[in-house]
């Protein structure tokens, strides 16, 4: 626990100094915000001093700007050049983890600090590189900020600004005005923006959004997202078959239905309705051996991971996804293109012999794969980076045709490999179900480890195999499930499997 400072001895002479710290990520425009605050204070008859730390921190690192002010008189006040723990009136943090850093550094204290923070995330490199989910927990920061701040204003200031065609410094400046912590009127703030003379209109709109967020809060974006119910459409014959499958879903426990439906849609989208029926067959097998004693956890978990296993990432799938009209539409929207602009798309493919051979009919593919000479030939022929210009007809047609080869897919080497892998895993999960329910659940969850393409995919299969075989060793132990979960988390921590190998060594030391 960090100990906040005891309230300082109150001295009216010293309390007249207002202290503002701005904590930002380099490149966020903390300097602009600082200039506005300075300009505002001086225009309103305040003596004001700002400092910043220039240097490499401004290359995307965490950085601090600091401002002190008090009403001007004929004597010059002595201002400090850096914020001190427990001695800051306003902290403006331009990103959620920077909110956390401000709290951590002791700049936010319950006796005095108004904390204005943006809830949006600019992920740090360490959060992004983990193969699993390494994203830091904003909730923990929020909870700490609620304790630490005297007044807390949190909103997605970045979104508020971007929506107005501006940048976060404007919305934060608005929130500072809205917080009412500086003794200046709203007009005076806006005048400071006008004086700076750059992108004034957009800045003022974002200022206004930030002001409102501080005064009334932003409820909308904070509610959990509920996906809209979307209707399935298609040829009547297929719709009838779909309805048949939906009926089968209704036999599933209520708690399973929504995830099973998502899974069913995914596998049908990947292949066809028959493939969907196969999915439900597999799921029913789990369901039959599950019970409400465990709240159907096994079936729920299986519904998710069987679907993911059945929907493997082969070239047909990628080609199909890349040529859909909905994708073209989405990209047009994201890139903000309109009729007077032309959008050109380039895809980056790099098939190796392994991927080419996986498209061969199963037996032939297996033969080719076993021959180093043939694989080398394929590599010579195919293995190079291919840029497909999917807005052009030739490239589009090629992918469109590949994307349409679903019927053939079931005969490919890849499919046979995937089916075998899935069945082995499924068997392994179901085998332990009777004696160790929790372990079966965890084994299903191990499917999460399989991801990526090419080498990354191959490595993920190895990781998966490592965790599954270590799970064998743990069978019969009370804490088997717990350990498997731990192994999986370790496997998701780093790409080099250092954490995983460490965890496996630990397991081997006690089994």
């Amino acid at each position: 626990m960090n100990l906040a400072l005891a309230p300082k001895p109150s001295d009216p002479a010293v309390d007249r100094i207002l202290k503002i710290a701005i904590i930002a990520v380099g490149g966020q425009g903390g300097g602009v915000l600082t200039n506005w605050i300075e300009s505002l204070a001086r225009a309103e008859g305040y003596a004001c001093q700002a400092t910043s730390v220039a240097g490499v921190a401004q290359r995307t690192g965490a950085t601090i700007y600091y401002i002190e002010m008090m009403p001007a008189s004929d004597r010059t006040p002595v201002f400090s050049l850096a914020p001190a723990q427990g001695d800051v009136d306003v902290v403006i943090a331009a990103e959620m983890m920077e909110v956390g850093r401000a709290v951590m550094r002791g700049f936010v204290t319950p006796d005095r600090t108004v904390l204005i923070g943006s809830t949006h995330r600019a992920l740090a490199v360490s959060e992004k590189t983990a193969p699993g989910d390494g994203i830091a927990k904003s909730d923990e920061v929020r909870a700490a900020a609620e304790v630490a701040a005297q007044t807390l204003i949190l909103a997605d200031m970045d979104r508020l600004a971007v929506e107005q065609g501006s940048v976060i410094s404007s919305s934060l400046f608005g929130a500072l005005a809205g917080a009412g912590v500086l003794p200046f009127a709203r007009d005076a703030f806006e005048e400071a923006i006008r004086r700076s003379g750059k992108g004034v209109d957009a800045s003022l709109r974002a200022f206004s959004a930030g002001f409102d967020a501080a005064v009334t809060g932003v409820p909308a974006a904070e509610v959990p997202y509920a996906p809209p119910k979307r209707k399935m459409i298609g040829p009547p014959a297929l719709i009838r078959e779909w309805q048949g499958l939906e009926k089968r879903l209704e036999n599933m426990p209520a708690s399973v239905q929504s995830i099973a439906q998502a899974g069913l849609k995914k596998v049908i989208d990947f292949q066809d309705v028959a493939y969907g029926a196969l999915y439900l067959d597999r799921l029913s097998e789990v369901h039959a051996q599950d019970s409400s004693d465990h709240m159907w956890e096994l079936t729920q978990t299986a519904a998710k991971y069987i679907a993911n296993a059945m929907v493997y990432d082969d070239i047909f799938r990628v080609a199909d996804l890349k040529t859909r009209s909905s994708r073209f539409q989405r990209i047009h929207e994201e890139m903000g293109t309109s009729d007077d602009k032309v959008l050109e798309l380039t895809e980056f493919f790099h098939p190796r012999a392994e991927e080419v051979v996986s498209l061969f009919p199963a037996k032939m593919g297996a033969r080719w794969e076993a021959s180093a000479r043939r694989m080398a030939l394929l590599n010579r022929l195919f293995s190079k980076g291919r840029r497909l210009r999917t807005h052009s007809l030739r490239a589009f047609l090629m992918l469109h045709i590949l994307g349409g080869m679903k019927r053939y897919r079931l005969r490919t080497l890849r499919h046979s490999v995937e089916v075998k892998h899935l069945e082995d895993w499924f068997k392994a999960c179901m085998q332990v179900r009777a004696e160790d329910y929790a372990l079966a659940v965890e084994l299903f969850k191990n499917r999460r480890l399989i991801k990526g393409y090419s080498d990354t995919h191959a490595r993920s299969i190895t990781k998966f195999a490592k965790v599954m075989s270590t799970a064998e060793l743990l069978k019969g132990r009370d804490d088997a499930a717990e350990w498997v979960a731990r192994l999986r988390e370790a496997a998701l921590q780093d790409p080099d499997e250092k954490a995983l190998d460490g965890a496996i060594a630990t397991v081997k030391s006690f089994v």
Binding site: D11, A13, G27, V53, V125, R327, E344, F348, H350, G403
Partner: protein, 716 residues
């Protein structure tokens, strides 16, 4: 052209008698130089004084009007050497660089300069890069002043004091024939405030006039027997003259009741921190009026014994507030006291920490501890016996990730390191040394390619022990800034001379980029006062490098990888140098964006590339990020109950550098990436072709959609 332009602010430098200047510390310094008749200025960029160099460069027109010469020096050594003009001529000169690394580089010239002594005022403005935000080893420049006998000013961190220090510095330098170093701390360079200006003054003797009438005096050359005389002069003439000037002009300041029993001796630069601590203890008001006696050392070297003795009269406890180590001032003051047989108690390191920045909290704790022993009755009762429970704030140290600096969005150095990483995965780890510059971020995650950094331009030299070769070649990385600063001779030339078999990767981003994008010899920009466009390759050939590979597009990761692999595996014996050139994206965007926007406005055809990730194709393994670390390549959590891990996502800030696609290809990653080129103002033919294509493609898509199950508005 530098990253930040001061063209608008520079106009304020024209202010005259009685005007008020409001702005940043570095601008104030420039103004003070002009007010004090400086004849020539120069220096080498580096935080925290990079912007001072930028201001000087942007003020070149004004300086030319006044007859002031601005020289962008090749290095700190070159800058200090330039002060030689003040040895023989009564011309005031000022140079600036960062401390202590710049002072290290400059020390040879500084030592010679100090031995010779100066005739015109010589001012060295050092940006001391210490504490939070610093990018270098934590040391002090103070020791250099002591060893070479130049004087060290450390003014209180406000604009009137800083500008006064410039004036005092020149005068002190001339009064004592000794160069003066003006130390600016990292925050005081950028502190804002106001001061009263005076008219700018042309130098009484300009460098142009001086060169027309050359002078020499061999007594000023550092050769025996003159050098022996210089040492004696330093001690017997210059030092006493300096002390006399300091005392007579009251460069150091006394605050508070001088008859108090306790006193604080403080470096000028730390004064505000001390006052803040006293304010928080209720012992000073907002204007700095205090109950504690303060002796503020605006001159931290030499220390004036007579002044200190006066301050000590009647005191029994004295605290020295001196940031950094070793505690030179405290040691000297202790020596004074001991030799004088004084019994008063001296505090310093002990109540204050020996190492580390004196932050607000450190200062408050230190001064509180001092007063608890020296004058407990002065402290408010709450401090003496705290009785309130402090609220508990949850610990976030495990939650909040560190955020070290890294490559900017679209940085051309990222693909160089991606290429190096791919070769490392292929051939194994190499011995690597790095240099100074943005490319040093390559040693941080996700690349972790780097090694010991021994100084600017010394990357390859730091691999000198391995020049004899072995089973595996060593790699060193050198930036274009470091190359011209020192690298060409100290590193590359000597690799040739010593028949090194190692590999150098020169990261050429067209600027001295880390310091703010200043032009250097090989910059591609046209600069009206500098000769640019001198290729690094030509210089390499000139010093005898035979194996040179020029990469003109660093974003071609495959090419980088193949070139590095070739360098590591070729049979060629001798230094192998790869020059990897692409423009710093920060500077490129700043240069090109306005031009591009104008072109679009004018109706000209412009293609703007941006990258994207297909969410349903990305599996969330983040392999791409481990070869990138680009700020615009981030993660997104999907609202898909079937997905556990966040997927890669490229945000609006993408500049379309191409690294993502190249890496996905070169590393054989995945097909999730796509590049979208938006063509603004397309030609008539392009429009027609796009319409035709989209009609046909649309027909094919509708046909297939008609045959399958799908959601009415989106993909499953």
């Amino acid at each position: 052209m530098a990253e930040r332009s001061f063209k608008a602010e520079v106009e304020h430098l024209r202010k005259g008698d009685g005007d008020v200047f409001t702005g940043e510390g570095i601008l104030a310094i420039t103004k003070a130089l002009l007010e004090n008749g400086v004849g020539y200025v120069g220096g080498y960029q580096g935080a925290p004084i990079s912007h001072l160099m930028d201001v000087l460069a942007d003020a070149e027109d004004l300086m030319t009007e006044l007859g002031v010469r601005f020289e962008a020096n090749a290095s700190e050594a070159a800058a200090a050497a330039m002060l030689a003009a003040s040895v023989h001529y009564p011309i005031r000169g000022a140079v600036t660089f960062k401390g202590p690394v710049g002072v290290n580089v400059a020390s040879d010239a500084l030592a010679n300069l100090c031995s010779s002594g100066v005739n015109g005022g010589a001012l060295i403005i050092v940006g001391e890069d210490y504490g939070e935000g610093s990018s270098i080893m934590q040391e002090r420049s103070h020791g250099f002043a002591m060893k070479s006998q130049f004087w060290l000013l450390d003014p209180r961190p406000n604009l009137p004091s800083i500008t006064k220090a410039v004036k005092d510095g020149f005068e002190l330098s001339e009064a004592s024939n000794t160069p003066v170093m003006l130390m600016m701390r990292i925050r005081s360079c950028h502190v804002t405030g106001s001061f009263m200006t005076k008219d700018n003054v042309s130098p009484p003797l300009t460098v142009k006039e001086a060169i027309a009438n050359p002078q020499s005096d061999f007594k000023r050359v550092v050769l025996p027997p003159a050098s022996y005389t210089h040492e004696v002069e330093k001690i017997e003439e210059r030092w006493p003259a300096a002390e006399k000037f300091i005392v007579e002009n009251e460069l150091n300041e006394m605050f508070g009741p001088q008859d108090a029993k306790v006193g604080i001796v403080v470096q000028g630069g730390m004064y505000n921190g001390v006052i803040r601590a006293l304010q928080r203890l209720g012992l000073a008001d907002v204007f700095g009026s205090t109950d504690i006696a303060i002796y503020c050392l605006n001159v931290t070297y030499p220390l004036v014994r007579s002044e200190f003795d006066t301050f000590c009269e009647g005191k029994d406890h004295i605290l020295v507030v001196e940031e950094g180590q070793p505690e030179h001032i405290e040691q000297a003051l202790g020596n004074f006291l001991y030799k004088a047989g004084q019994t008063l108690k001296l505090y310093g390191k002990g109540v204050l920490p020996m190492a580390g920045e004196y932050t607000g909290q450190v200062m408050l704790d230190g001064i509180t501890d001092f007063l608890k022993e020296a004058a407990p009755d002065l402290l408010p009762s709450q401090v003496r016996a705290p009785n309130q429970d402090a609220p508990l704030i949850p610990d976030l140290s495990q939650t909040v990730p560190g955020r070290p600096p890294g490559f900017c969005t679209g940085c051309p150095e990222r693909p160089i390191f991606a290429g190096l990483k791919l070769v490392e995965q292929e051939l194994g780890k190499s011995q690597i040394t790095a240099d100074i510059g943005c490319h040093l971020f390559g040693s941080l995650p996700p690349f972790e390619i780097g090694g010991a950094t021994m100084g600017y331009g010394l990357g390859p030299a730091a691999n000198g022990a391995f020049d004899g070769g072995g089973d595996r070649r060593a790699i060193s990385i050198l930036g274009d800034g470091g190359f011209w600063h020192n690298g060409l001779s100290s590193s590359i030339g000597n690799m040739v001379f010593n028949k090194s078999d190692n590999v150098v990767v020169i990261v050429d981003n067209y600027y001295s980029a880390a310091t703010g994008g200043q032009d250097i010899l090989s910059s591609r920009a046209q600069n009206k006062t500098k000769a640019t466009n001198n290729p690094i390759g030509d210089a390499l050939k000139g010093v005898g490098v035979e194996w040179i590979r020029q990469i003109d597009n660093t974003y071609d990761v495959g090419h980088v990888r193949d070139t590095v692999r070739e360098a590591l595996t070729t049979d060629f014996k001798g230094p192998k140098v790869i020059v990897a050139s692409s423009e710093c994206m920060l500077n490129k965007q700043r240069r090109e964006k306005p031009i591009r926007n104008k072109a679009i406005k004018d109706g000209r055809r412009v293609e703007i590339p941006r990258f994207g990730v297909d969410a349903d194709v990305c599996t969330g393994d983040h392999a791409c990020i481990r070869l990138s670390g680009c700020p615009s390549l981030s993660l997104k959590k999907l609202d898909d109950p079937l997905r556990d891990d966040p997927i890669a996502h490229i945000d609006q800030t993408c500049v379309g550098c191409g690294n993502c696609g190249e890496v996905a290809d070169a590393a054989v990653l995945c097909p999730s990436f796509y590049r979208a080129d938006v063509v603004h103002n397309p030609t008539g033919f392009e429009n027609w072709r796009a319409r035709m294509r989209s009609r046909l493609i649309g027909w094919l898509q509708t046909r297939r959609d008609g045959k399958r199950l799908r959601f009415e508005d989106a993909p499953a």
